[in-house]
Symmetry: C2
Subunit: 255 residues, 2 copies
């Protein structure tokens, strides 16, 4: 009998978030599920690793799966899972379901995708899932449905080495969504609008806020276009940041 | 008379590090320099942003330049500089000089390069500089020399939009190094070796440590090869993580 698939589940909203409970549930029919996730919310942590303080592992429970909570980043969770907590390398890593979009350049700041990229660095097929709503009561049904379908496809077909998928899903029911589109990352950026306040002692402080600007709103092959048109957006990412077109342009620089 | 170039200097080792003093000094002949850097060390912070606590700005002094210390990540520093602290967008962003290599996939975890990628996202020509030594007394002379030369080249030639340079420099004097090579990011990964200890209360904890494995040690077009052969390695990076080859392979998936 073939060994059951081993699936590692993590996230950046922490082990107590609704998104990871929904994702774990969607993975149960596909194999043996182990959860290794941050004990606290780790939004915006990108692919950060913890070097200043030691990491602690606490056994936990989620949907009856072997589960661990870590006082670190999503990437710390993946590293600890691969090196210490799992009996073997998993067949699949899934991260999320994040509460809030990680499309376009948001992927650069996302802890959810940081974990998926860490899986990719280590040669494990990996997927980050995010829901287009920050509402803690948001309807996760479509995200959960597509998580199951896309994870099953990756388990069956595999992914090229050093790549992962960035999946964003509109809120709602599965039949309210037009389907999934394979896309590229939209060009765009966040325009910061720091909220400047004064504390009771009279000292200034800033909260980071901002608005997203899409540099190519009409490009139909992008994830932003897909999401605006009520599709699930699936973007394959890789961990090689080399700009080969720039390399060609600057290769004769004398520095 | 042409306006002087405006250069933003940041890092991830914090405003008190020797590397940022050396980098600031190297920039002074090239334009007006403003320093916005973390107040404390932020190694391994990748492109993380701070959403859990507010940011505070403290005026400081470094080499006679207008300087600010921020209780946040390198990327926070760049965002605050662009949005609140600089009178106009800078002509160049430089980050470093990091104490320790950021070649190959280390770029994914590096706060130094997180800041440079944040500059690139915002369309600012940006460069991250790192020295191949963690020794706090390391000889920064070659790194400082090449920082000046490469920054001057970028100010003169520009960089394609949404790209930055990742520059790693061997330790030593400029004339001990063979020159600079334009390279691609080496394929490789860190093999974690968590250091498992027991605290005085009998509870286990882990320190993250590891060894780097190069998957293509003989590839002469890579940054690792350049550094092993005593060259400065210059890798152009971009912020589009899309794997276009994977996109082609999976575009007909029915999910």
């Amino acid at each position: 009998m073939a060994e059951r698939k081993l699936i590692l589940v993590t996230n950046d909203d922490g082990l107590g978030a609704r998104g990871i409970a929904a994702l774990t549930e969607a993975m149960l029919p596909l194999g043996e599920v182990v959860v290794v996730a941050p004990s606290e919310a780790q939004s915006g942590m990108s692919q950060a690793i913890t070097v200043k303080h030691p990491l602690r592992v606490r056994q936990a429970a989620l949907n009856g799966c072997i589960s661990y909570a870590i006082n670190g980043t999503p990437t710390d969770c993946v590293k600890l899972a691969f090196n210490q907590l799992l009996v073997r390398k998993p067949d699949l890593l899934v991260s999320g379901i994040n509460h809030g979009s990680n499309s376009s350049t948001s992927v650069l700041y996302s802890g959810t995708l940081g974990a998926a990229l860490e899986g990719a660095v280590n040669g494990i097929p990996s997927i980050g899932f995010s829901l287009l709503s920050y509402d803690q009561r948001a309807d996760l049904e479509a995200a959960q449905y597509y998580a199951g379908r896309i994870a099953a496809a990756v388990l069956k077909e595999g992914l090229p080495k050093y790549t992962c998928l960035n999946v964003n899903v509109p809120e709602g029911k599965p039949d309210e969504i037009k389907g999934a589109r394979i896309c590229r990352q939209t060009r765009g950026h966040w325009q910061e609008e720091f909220d400047r306040r004064t504390d009771p002692a009279g000292r200034e402080y800033y909260w980071l806020t901002g608005k997203y600007f899409n540099s190519e709103p009409d490009a139909e092959d992008t994830d932003e276009w897909a999401l605006h048109n009520n599709y699930v957006a699936v973007v394959p990412l890789h961990t090689d940041l080399t700009s080969f077109s720039t390399l060609e342009k600057i290769k004769n620089w004398k520095v």
